[in-house]
Amino acid sequence: MAAQDKAAQAGAADIEFTDQQQKYIDAPLDKHVYLRACPGSGKTEVVAAKVCKIIQEWNHHPSGIALLTFLNSATDELQSRVHKYLREPMGLPHYISTFDSFVLTHLLSSIASEITGFQGRDGDFRIRIIDKSADIYRTRIKICGRSVSACRYNYDKGSKRYVFSTNDRKWDNEANLAQQDEADQKALLTNKKRLWAAGFATYGDIDILALVGMQEEKFKDYFSRIARRFPLVIVDECQDLSAEQLLIVKRLSLLGVKFHFVGDLNQSIYGFRRSNPASVRRRMEELGFEEYVLNENWRSGQAVVDVCSNILQSDRVVGNPRIASVKPRVIEYQNCPSEVLPAIREMSLIHDSVVVVARGHTTLQRLRTGRAFEGIELLALACINLKAGRLTDIAQCLETFGKWLAARLKLQVTKAGPYCPMDIESKLAWRIFLHDGLQFLVEHGAGDGNQTWSDWARAAKITLGKLPDQTFVPVEVREHLEGLRGLNLRARSGQGKMLISERLTGVPDVAAKRDCLRFETIHGVKGETHDVTVVVSSQKPGVHQSHWKDWLRDRTSEAARFAYVASSRPKHVLIWAVKKLKAEDRLVLEGLGFELP
């Protein structure tokens, strides 16, 4: 983006903003505002400039503004941009963090124990956030034959029932369709309350608890005070707000807080976290948001921009006239998407950042190696990579080993750590153990790729059985490892006589291929700019919305938005990699603006 390049060298004074951008920077602070920013419009730069202006002219100390995002990486990005402009970091009374962090720290923390009855742990009243990988506080009743952990369901106001989200999709579907009577709901709620009273909560729970607090009379003054503390809240990527978060926004606005929403409803792809762009639009209309528009795309050539507009059948957007407009292409594969890789690799000789984007991890894994890794393969992968000795891979090895241990031994873990059991205080101690443990396995031959799966499994099983007795195992960890003693480790069926190296080589060597291809999910590339983006469609439609037909079936669906977000990343070249097309399909894609083989 032209403006962005300039910004790389200079401070705010040297940036020239377009009329559209300047209009927002000058927008009033005493009204709700929605800045609709199409991809590549320089949104981050504009928001940083606006925030900088607000801070420099601010005279309502000790009140301040809150700048909220949805990802820690986004927070870091904005923080460093603002720092660059202001020449000092954003400090009190202003506040920048994720939306979740804001709700937890500023809305809920001080009153949490009053709402949940949590008695604190030794005077420590901090709430521990856990996600569905934990399995604590299970219901006393059975839902579809199982007792469910309180971390794996949330109440949905829309459908007025509890929605389950465990790691078993099949069971989830069954349970979410099954009948849920009053007794069930009461039991589910009671179980949740037990979780909260013990000082735990999921992020979804935090929103709900905050809403509970906002409805109680006794906290009225407390929330009024918060409204005075943050009279202006800017929310970046507002399309990702969940229903509960929108309700929190409404309640705060009733107390006088003004909101600036910044984002693009067309880029809402967090449906799995229950954010719905239609609800966001409804809420903005209800609260009277004034719309400002940034619809000049500085990132991409016009042809790419037009294809994106066609995917959603949305308004025309102006592309960057200084970027050569190259018509987006379609590349076909016969059986497996990995067939297109050689052609893509050639492109990477000309262009710098070439990214391959796919809807899900499975497709991505297929691209890399033809099939995803599971179970015992993960353990072998971790060992082999550790033996290979590349420092950059160690973190990944530890995470893989941790994940395997957690699954195999059914440990209660927090995702951070990685996969650190909840009762172990020091994450550092856990990581050291993971490393020592893997090292132990490698020393006993588990890192050698030149053996068959059967041989490897036999050796690994014996070594793992000895693991709990090793001196490097910390006392708190020891008891968790008991399950390794009688462990049964077997090669996957039909693979027993295969060499490990056959299966596991071809794993991307990060160091060597750093300047070649990147493989990412759509969520992973949000906000990025690439030179070339290859969007990979799965072989069959209807499974997890990873086929291009799913994307085009309903222009208002999330599937369409997936395609939109992925396709709006490239500066120069957009490629869709699809399974061999039928004649009528070719027409559809041509109509969208693609050049076909």
Partner: protein, 633 residues
């Protein structure tokens, strides 16, 4: 907003949980040495970043350790501050310290576990620990600490971060900001820059030539490649460096003196330098408050230990009045510790907090002693520098007049004699005799006990004896033996005494129920009379009177000397009464007077008090104040 309560445990002398209640404005902490005054100030400093004396680091000695044989150091230090009186802005600024409450809390804990020379410590805001601490919030509190032994001269001296530099930077903050934004030089920088140029370019001063010489010499030594450029100038052209080079000069009074006549501070008096130092601190603090300038500050805390250091009483008074005014006018909370009776006399008891350390430290704000308004006003007016002694003593004896005040120490020597050398005077027990100048026990004793049932309050945990007279009517009506009545002087004795008219007598019973106070009243009549009625005391007392009578050769003296030869010890109480009455008349007469008599009497007792019998009520008062039991010797 102000610091209302401080709770300390495990820190320095505070083994058991200790709590002290402060109030907005001026707080004066008094108490004898070792009571915990400095401990309180140190605890407050531990919470905040002190802009004058720097951050306080926890050391091993800060963990409380009792003096018992098996006592070990405390495992944890906990210091918690509660802030009250927050207005709208304060509540927003300290939102996380308040949570859902009206008051803000800040807690500091430290564990007695040393790691790399430092002790693990933790600080959090709010009524419970429920989120990470925003250290920037501490900048909203401006805390300044002045230690007791101040080197004002060094502090006022020029140099990095000198007082002057800080004050000037604070005063010019907005201008400096504006200049920086416009990327221009501040007028002061401009001026000095020009002056520098003048100095180095003009041929009039030797500076240009000196520069040349130095430069040439360096080049010759190092060669053009390695040589550095040098320049002699007044100062670097930066606001900070310029003001750091400024020096404060003084002139002894406010008369019009030429700038050249002002002198360096090294020549100034120690006391005045101290005043200048404190004045410069106040200037910075009050400027901040007035102009709403500089860093946003919501609480100003000024901690001064012994402000009276280096100052004579009149200056102490002036300083204190100024501190009080500054505290009230500009929303500053001032906490001082003092040993000066001048200072305590100058403030209302409402501002005074008494600290003691009998078996554990205790803080008693005098405003909580249950003084009814009238008593408080009385005490405020009458608590002068001498009476203020009662705030620092280990025990007090309150008396009605100068006579008792002078004689009592001598009588005490007689009473305490059995306890041996080093324990036989009031001084040895830290007991002060306070002359109330009247029968004002009901006002002053309220500090030590609940004088009446309806005046409930806290008590200063220090023993207090009140000493008062029985004061029966001076005369009674008798039959004159002729069917008439006449008025006869009433001389009480062991078989004939009535309860007197002294209003204080009615307080005795209730005071006697308290833990620390007792009111002792004479049995018979007045101080001198009651003493005269015991044993052979009249002998000594008559001789003293004789020595003081004007007409040394007259009949009065002769009579006194003759009476002195009598054996009073053998007489009955009724027989002594008339002699005692006569003695009283002599003492009260114009020739002698109570004051003169008391002085002479005290001298005689000091010289030789053997055999002198001290009346029971006086004896009890002395033993009570000294914390001794009857027969304990």
């Amino acid at each position: 907003m102000y610091l209302r309560t401080l709770d300390v445990q495990g820190f320095k002398c505070f083994g058991e949980p200790f709590s002290i209640e402060l109030h907005d404005g001026l707080n004066v902490l008094v108490g004898e040495n070792g009571a915990g005054k400095t401990g309180v100030v140190s605890a407050i400093r531990q919470l905040f970043n002190d802009s004058e004396s720097g951050k306080r680091i926890i050391s091993e000695r800060d963990f409380h350790r009792g003096f018992g044989k098996d006592d070990v150091a405390a495992e944890e230090i906990k210091i918690q501050a509660t802030f009250s009186g927050l207005d709208e802005n304060d509540v927003i600024a300290f939102d996380t310290w308040c949570g859902n409450h009206a008051e803000a809390k800040l807690t500091f804990t430290a564990l007695n576990q040393e790691s790399r020379g430092r002790f693990k410590h933790h600080i959090y805001g709010g009524h419970e620990y429920n989120k990470a601490f925003e250290t920037e919030k501490l900048d909203y509190v401006h805390c300044v600490y002045l230690p007791p032994l101040r080197d004002a001269e060094t502090k006022l001296r020029e140099g990095r971060q000198s007082r002057l530099a800080r004050l000037l930077k604070a005063l010019c903050r907005k201008d400096i900001e504006a200049a920086r934004k416009a990327r221009a030089l501040h007028p002061l920088e401009q001026h000095v820059g020009d002056f520098n140029r003048q100095l180095s370019e003009s041929d009039q001063f030797a500076i240009k030539a000196a520069n040349q010489r130095i430069g040439d010499s360096l080049k010759a030594a190092l060669g053009a490649h390695l040589s550095q450029g040098t320049m002699i100038q007044f100062s670097e052209v930066s606001f900070s460096r310029i003001v750091e080079g400024l020096r404060l000069l003084y002139f002894p009074d406010l008369s019009k003196a030429d700038a050249a006549q002002f002198r360096a501070l090294e020549e100034n008096s120690l006391g005045y330098n101290n005043l200048l130092y404190i004045a410069s601190i106040l200037a910075e603090l009050t400027y901040e408050a007035d102009a709403g300038q500089g860093e946003k500050t919501y609480l100003r805390l000024l901690l001064i230990e012994e402000p009276e250091a280096h100052l004579h009483p009149q200056l102490q008074l002036r300083l204190l009045r100024h501190l009080k005014k500054a505290a009230e006018a500009r929303g500053m909370q001032v906490i001082i510790t003092t040993h000066s009776t001048v200072i305590t006399a100058a403030v209302s008891v409402d501002h005074v907090i008494h600290l003691s350390n009998l078996n554990r430290p205790k803080a008693v704000p005098l405003r909580n002693c249950g003084l009814p308004t009238q008593s408080r006003q009385f005490v405020d007016r009458w608590l002068d520098a001498t009476k203020s002694n009662l705030l620092f003593a280990k025990g007090t004896i309150l008396v009605e007049g100068i006579a008792e005040a002078m004689v009592l120490p001598a009588l005490a020597k007689i009473v305490l004699q059995p306890f041996g050398e080093g324990r036989n005077s009031l001084d040895d027990y830290g007991v002060s005799v306070i002359n109330l100048g009247g029968i004002y026990f009901n006002h002053f004793m309220q500090l030590f006990c609940d004088v009446r049932a309806e005046h409930q309050g806290k008590n200063i945990p220090v023993r207090c004896s009140g000493l008062t007279d029985n004061d029966p009517p001076k005369s009674v009506i008798e039959d004159d033996g002729e069917d008439g009545q006449k008025s006869v002087p009433f001389l009480p004795h062991a078989d004939n005494c009535i309860v007197g008219n002294n209003p204080a007598l009615g307080l005795q019973k209730h005071i006697g129920l308290s833990e620390f106070a007792r009111l002792f009243a004479g049995k018979y009549k007045t101080f001198e009379y009651d003493i005269a009625m015991e044993g052979n005391n009249l002998k000594t007392m008559l001789i003293v009177a004789a020595g003081l009578w004007e007409a040394q050769n007259g009949t009065v003296v002769k009579g006194l000397k003759a009476d002195a030869k009598l054996d009073f010890a053998a007489m009955s109480s009724a027989q002594r009464a008339p002699y005692a009455g006569a003695l009283l008349d002599r003492i009260d007469s114009d020739d002698i007077g109570k004051g003169i008599y008391a002085q002479a009497f005290a001298d005689v007792l000091e010289a030789n008090g053997a055999g002198f019998v001290v009346p029971v009520y006086i004896r009890q008062a002395i033993l009570w104040a000294c914390g001794l039991e009857e027969g304990a010797a």
